[in-house]
Assembly symmetry: C2
Homo-oligomer: 241 residues x 2
């Protein structure tokens, strides 16, 4: 049975980290939100799934993956569940735990990225917290991007088996590094042109992922939603210091 | 062999969610940071462990748990690893995944709580972002606390087996609900006096956890660090709207 992904159809957002894994693996999946409304899709289907009061184990927020009778929320939890099943995680417990550890560092970084354009509240428009966003983004680019990049760069340096985060082959956190680099380049082109050259492992990993046949085909397809200013990575020139 | 917890000794912080699980289970563990410096403890020991350049799988940040040859970082990942081993998680995969799902919602909420006093940057003192903190905290108390509380309240409502999050017995996310309530009461006593009565399941769960013999003994011991203004939950009266 196909995996069912429940996520907002208008953005890459957090769901994109899951889409990339499913696409790389060539897994059979349905992106429910992107199906036509007449076929049970669209944002209404996501909201309905989320609001189902009969669900004994309700999810807090999308992305949510349904695999037959099991429902899993949180990007990192979904990838932990999928990793072994679709060949994108180590087989042993120590390796699985390590992959999940890296993904949880991505999770925290993603929330920090989000808050560059929403430092005060999700309940306010960006325009109503622009001044604070300018402050937060400047310090984010000065401190947090280099700290996270240096960390992931060093994980690749310490991997004796290749230019990936873990072992000799691709694992799902590698796909997330691709997405982080692509998204940050979109949101902060000036800052990234300055910062990224110090982290050649990350650039090389981004390029290696982008060149993989399934990812390349996905990126060129209509299934890849364009970056936009509703998503996680937003291009606001005043934040790109 | 005893579990070794690596976490800052001066705060409850994120490590406290792990300490509570180890204490409830009566697990054999060493809180490395709280040992005397002469016995290899103290904050220097945590920093040294974190900065060990020979570690092929470096952690991004504490808390870190060492169990023999395996090292695990991120609170939720540590609890996932420990849960089954110390009898605080369901046995089946769907149950384990669900417990982890709830814990990851706690993780995101914890970062939101942290950012009420650091909305602009960790690189600045609270005093240098106080104005923005006042704005963020007010909207956090108005929107985010009720949203998370309503979610966890509803999870307990939907559990047919008892006044816990999962099944008939205690699991590690229950301990985290205790800690969230205790911490938010410390940080925002006025707001919590107003908000908490709407969520009786959460208050009852907090009280049930606090009354458990191992937790009660822990809370009364010197091992429980007091809440303070270096930690996650900080009492700044100007934020308690």
């Amino acid at each position: 049975m196909a995996y069912e992904l429940y996520y907002w159809p208008m953005i890459q957002g957090r769901g994109e980290f899951v889409r990339l894994a499913l696409e790389e693996a060539g897994a059979d999946y349905v992106d429910v939100g992107r199906k036509p409304k007449g076929e049970g899709g669209g944002p209404g289907a996501i909201a309905a799934f989320l609001g189902d009061e009969a669900n004994p184990r309700p999810s807090y927020a999308p992305p949510i993956l349904k695999d037959g009778g099991i429902t899993i929320a949180h990007t990192a939890n979904i990838l932990l569940y999928l990793g072994g099943r679709i060949g994108l995680a180590p087989d042993d417990e120590a390796g699985r735990t390590w992959a999940h550890d890296l993904q949880l560092t991505v999770t925290d970084f993603v929330l920090e990225i989000h808050d560059t354009h929403h430092p005060i509240s999700n309940a306010l428009y960006y325009e109503d917290q622009k001044e604070e966003s300018v402050k937060r983004a400047a310090l984010f680019l000065e401190h947090r991007v280099p700290k996270h990049f240096a960390y992931f760069e060093s994980v690749i340096d310490r991997n004796p088996d290749g230019a990936h985060l873990i072992g000799a082959g691709l694992t799902y956190p590698d796909l997330s590094i691709f997405q982080l680099i692509a998204g940050l380049r979109y949101a902060f082109p000036n800052a990234m042109a300055r910062i990224e050259p110090d982290y050649p492992n990350l650039t090389a990993l981004h390029d290696a992922v982008a060149a993989r046949p399934n990812i390349k085909a996905y990126l060129e397809s209509d299934r890849r939603i364009d970056f936009n200013e509703m998503g996680l990575f937003r291009r606001y020139p005043e934040l790109d210091g």
